[in-house]
Amino acid sequence: MKHQLEIDSVQKSFATKRILSDVYLRTETGNIIGILGRNGCGKSTLFKIIFGTLGAENKFVRIDNVIHKKPYFTREITYLPQDNFIPKHLKVSHAITLYISKDKREEFLNDVLIERIKHQKIKHLSGGEQRYLEIKLILYTSSKFVLLDEPYNGLAPNKIDLVNQLILDSAKHKGIILSDHAYSNVLHVANRICLINNGALYDIKDKKELVRFGYLTDAMLASV
């Protein structure tokens, strides 16, 4: 059975500046939506509004047609913020115990990198190790939908391939919305692309539209 996430009529301003204007987005489990946009266009703001930790002048978030004011409270949606979020004093094994259910733990630990770091404290991990752990934790939770805000931040190229594979595997039973300035990765992994421009969310049917909106140049698009 497919689950649905619907975000409707999102309006958000900071002081007098309108960041998001009447944004509508609908997705379901099995989909990977890539959201692109310039710095400060409202991508992270939109994610926090969907997750429920940031208010908006107006918003409706529905999961399977049920409106939720704070969707994160339902545990049906999880969010990877831009910056590292696991408390530094925790041990990796403790974070895994808190996040991953027993039936998935063995599969989660069947990973060379995780196996190597599982007895270390978070504060002793490198930025890339920490990011990889966070992405894997978020993708292995039992939530139906996952919001990934700049997941490729600080990841080495070999880890990027692993993360892309994790995202693709998770999308078999989850709905994923991701955003990153590494547009080539987003274009590679997503099966639908949206662009935030001047507060509005546009569905991108053809990648050439990204050039028309001024997000990419012809040369950048050719290299993807």
């Binding site: 997750f51 930790t53 704070k70 994160y72 409270f73 339902t74 545990r75 999880t78 969010y79 913020p81 910056d83 590292n84 979020f85 696991i86 408390p87 974070a95 808190l98 996040y99 978020i138 939770t141």
Partner: protein, 75 residues
């Protein structure tokens, strides 16, 4: 018979000590909660379905338990 000197305290003294402990621990927990709330650490708990209110409520309950234990130990 009293084994330790603090066991001879009056009810008012015990209550005062418990209140001082409650206030001190409360302030420390408030600072910790504000730190969690203002940093990304909060998302670690939000992703497990814990709300901001529950974080504060948890620290309040913890503080109350400690204050009650202190009050009872001085009996």
């Amino acid at each position: 018979m009293y084994i330790l000197p603090f066991q001879q305290l009056t009810n008012t003294q015990r209550l005062t000590i418990a209140l001082v402990a409650f206030t001190g621990i409360g302030l420390a927990l408030y600072v910790l909660m504000e730190h969690i709330r203002k940093t990304n650490d909060a998302y670690f708990y939000f992703n497990q379905g814990v709300t901001k209110l529950q974080l504060y409520a948890f620290s309040l309950v913890l503080n109350l338990i400690v204050a009650i234990i202190i009050y009872l130990v001085f009996k």
